[in-house]
Amino acid sequence: MNALAQIGAVIGLNLQSLPQRFWMSAATVIAVALAVGVMLAFQSISAGFQATVRGSGSTEIAVISREGSGGSELNSAVSLDEMRILSGAPGVKLGPDGAPQMSGELYVIVDGRRKSGPEKVNLPLRGVGAAAAGFRDGFTITQGRMLQFGANELIVGEGVLEEFTGFEIGSVVRLGDADWNVVGAFTAPATVFDSEIWGDGAIVQNVFDRQGSVQTVRLRLDGPEGLQKLTDYVAADSRFNVIVETEADFFADQGGAVGFLAVVGTVLGVIMGIGSLAGALNTMFASVSARTREIATLRTIGFGGLSAFAGTFVESIVLALLGGLLGVGGAFLLFNGLTASTLGAGFTQVVFAFKVTPDSVVQGVGLALIIGVLGGLAPGLRAARAPLLAVNAA
């Protein structure tokens, strides 16, 4: 007996007869696709946000923030005295001029408006010095020009230009009690900085009444041991009330805020998956029921119960996988690369791109496979046990 040929023939029969149950099969495919699609949509939001936030940090840069600020630049303050002492700290890379590479930065919230709606949202205005751009990998002026220090000029991230209105190059915006000219746009690709507005740090200090302090200090480390040397130095000096960490670690914790979306997506996907499982079971039982005489005929001819089981089981898996692939494809086309903004750790908007990751795809196809397997088991067993006497049914 050629068991594989038997099984192959019955699987072929099942799949060829799918058009006879087109709408019911299509409903199962669509139900699975929706379950997988919803799961991937939520996961793509979470993955995209986390990739943006976590991708913003470098391990070669130390961020100094106030102890107890909870990793939020908004809550942090580093006094200019502390900044001055830090300029002599060990572990910090020196520039060509022999000065330590450091950037004291202010971080304040200003109002913005989405292009998609009239409501006001928080946007981050970063007060920077000339060194700030050098601390962002891939920093490029994409339109207009770099701001001129000493003037009320702004440059805006590409994400801000894309998602928010009023910051077009050449426009004048009122932030704090001052008017600012938007003179350029910049990108620091796939980082939170793309969602920021930058102005001269000294002017931001004045306009927003933040004299005497910055909020964070960035220092470029002189090597792998740089962070430890810097940490030891700060720990040994009681005048400091700050935390020293790499920029990568500083941002690592901030992705968690949207991380729950991945969980929500998975839970929703599983709940919808259970619904699709019911649909798959219904479809497959209907398939067995409609084909009982065919199955009984094959078994009467001498085909084994295993081949009858395999035919139904594989049909279920094929339908579910079709649904899974449709869900993955749909999620990829609809969501991957789609940009949106949401509230980041600093209560400001972070513009990010949705990301359908390979892990999500594997999970989506896995969910479809589970639905197919569970949806095919019981109907497959029913097919294997189809009464031979059904062969005489009219």
Partner: protein, 228 residues
């Protein structure tokens, strides 16, 4: 000619509403190699049940069925499936063809249970379709064939693996008289020319006349008449 099938004291009963209903009790008969038997009888006399037991798709409640001196009624499901595949060809009233397969693929189905190569299978399918005079319809699907043509395909499927016995349950019950006679003539040819043993259940006396023997089953007993 030897004895192909021996039924010895075969009984069949089933339970309905907690009550045992007997279809037949202690039935015995022998089927010779090369026989063509028509089993007739009123509805509910157990004709089809008997045919199902001969074909190994139903089992007796008591008694024994031997096929070429080998007891078959007590075989396991798997062994019974192999027995059917090797020895029995089935012809059904409603043809029971797979609607999505061509005539040739339908005929090939029993050969998938053998170790024959693809080429050998094709050759056998071609021969079987020639025998039933449907070579020109090999690639047609059942819905493109008339009832008579579908039954011819079913007969080709039944004989393609060269089984010792063909079992036909009302093979012309769904056909007009002329087509029915053609099908019965074909079955007669298979019996006379190829020596196929055929057991046919029918209500139709005209159909029964194509057989060598008529057995009338009534109230659990056989009454034999010669025909043909």
């Amino acid at each position: 000619m030897g004895v192909l099938v021996d039924l010895n004291g075969v009984s069949k009963s089933f339970k309905r509403g907690g009550q045992a209903i007997s279809i037949f009790d202690g039935l015995s008969m022998q089927i010779e190699d090369g026989d063509f038997i028509a089993i007739m009888g009123p509805s509910g006399s157990g004709k089809s049940t008997l045919l199902n037991m001969l074909g190994g798709i139903d089992r007796p409640s008591a008694g024994a069925i031997t096929f070429r001196d080998e007891r078959v009624d007590n075989k396991s499901e798997g062994a019974m499936a192999k027995f059917r595949a090797r020895n029995i060809g089935f012809i059904f009233q409603f043809y029971n063809l797979m609607p999505t397969l061509s005539a040739a693929r339908n005929v090939e189905l029993p050969l998938l249970l053998t170790k024959l190569s693809g080429g050998e299978r094709k050759k056998r399918v071609k021969t079987a379709l020639e025998l039933v005079q449907l070579s020109d319809r090999a690639h047609h699907k059942p819905r493109a064939l008339s009832g008579g043509q579908q039954q011819r395909v079913a007969i080709a499927r039944a004989i393609v693996s060269d089984p010792a016995m063909l079992l036909a349950d009302e093979p012309t019950g769904d056909l007009d008289r002329k087509t029915a006679d053609e099908i019965l003539g074909l079955m007669q040819t298979l019996n006379r020319s190829l020596g196929k043993t055929i057991v046919m259940v029918t209500h139709d006396p005209a159909a029964a006349r194509f057989a060598k023997r008529e057995l009338h089953l009534d109230k659990g007993r056989f009454e034999e008449r010669l025909s043909g």
